[in-house]
Subunit: 163 residues, 2 copies
């Protein structure tokens, strides 16, 4: 059980007033190699103030992971509740959005709020999934090691922004 193509790399793109943003081409190419879809599922990240994003192929894998975890925990007192919550988290709390011919998505208002996305979106490959951050929050996040933050610093600098 493993996905063949992995998301990697980073990019910083502009979010316009309508919440539209280009998904970097190198991430789209992974989606299109994994399947023939042109959609992205967005979710609040479990651990960070950011969005987690993935394609339909990963959604199936995610489901399998939840099932497996449940089997492992079976018998634990709160396993059933945990299982329900994970499923809701994975499916109710997500939104699927298509990207257009030029590779742009509209971040739905709820997700924009949950991920605290403003006018810049930092895309980070994370293997099976990728993440979308407000670069400001990424730099402020204590759980992110400092040398990782260099990615954001570099991408901002590249655009002539410093923050």
């Amino acid at each position: 059980m493993a996905l063949e193509h992995l998301f990697q790399g980073s990019a910083l793109n502009a979010v316009d007033a309508k919440g539209r943003v280009s998904v970097p081409a190198f991430l789209r190419s992974v989606i299109e190699r994994r399947g023939d879809a042109r959609t992205i599922t967005l979710a609040k990240h479990e651990a960070f103030p950011a969005l987690s994003a993935y394609d339909p192929a990963y959604a199936a894998l995610k489901h399998a992971k939840i099932e497996r975890l449940f089997e492992k925990q079976e018998g634990d007192s709160d396993a059933a509740l945990d299982y329900q919550q994970r499923n809701l988290m994975a499916f109710a709390a997500t939104e699927e959005v298509p990207y257009d011919t030029s590779g742009r998505i509209v971040i739905p208002p709820m997700m924009r709020r949950k991920g605290e996305i403003a006018d810049l979106a930092l895309f980070l490959g994370a293997g099976e999934t990728f993440q979308i951050w407000n670069p400001k929050l990424f730099l402020a996040e204590p759980k992110i090691p400092d040398d990782m933050k260099d990615i954001a610093r570099f991408r901002l600098e590249e655009r002539g922004l410093k923050l």
Copy 2:
């Protein structure tokens, strides 16, 4: 689970103004024997002021290791955070670049900065991966034994450079 073909040997190639550099043919042949890809993933080396480089086959191996480790630790209090950090380190902090028909890659600006690569690139086979150094930094690195540095000295001399 081990890769059959290993990177070995050394070479010193020129980096042009656009950041283009030829990947030595003997390294490319290993990549192409491991899989059918023609891309290289670049990362900052964990211990040295240099770049670590590998092919998609090795990236998949790395991904599998991270997943297995997580499944083993699942339930531990900080397993989830550890997992997230490992994934970001392995995938967000790296960049995948294709090489063209003549075997050249463009070192992305961020990697060029992280690896402190100037106008010469020293390629060193390291088994499962290979490294790309600024030869000047290689010679200056205290953790590298002197007889290893003879490789760089020889390659420089070969080009009529001394440093």
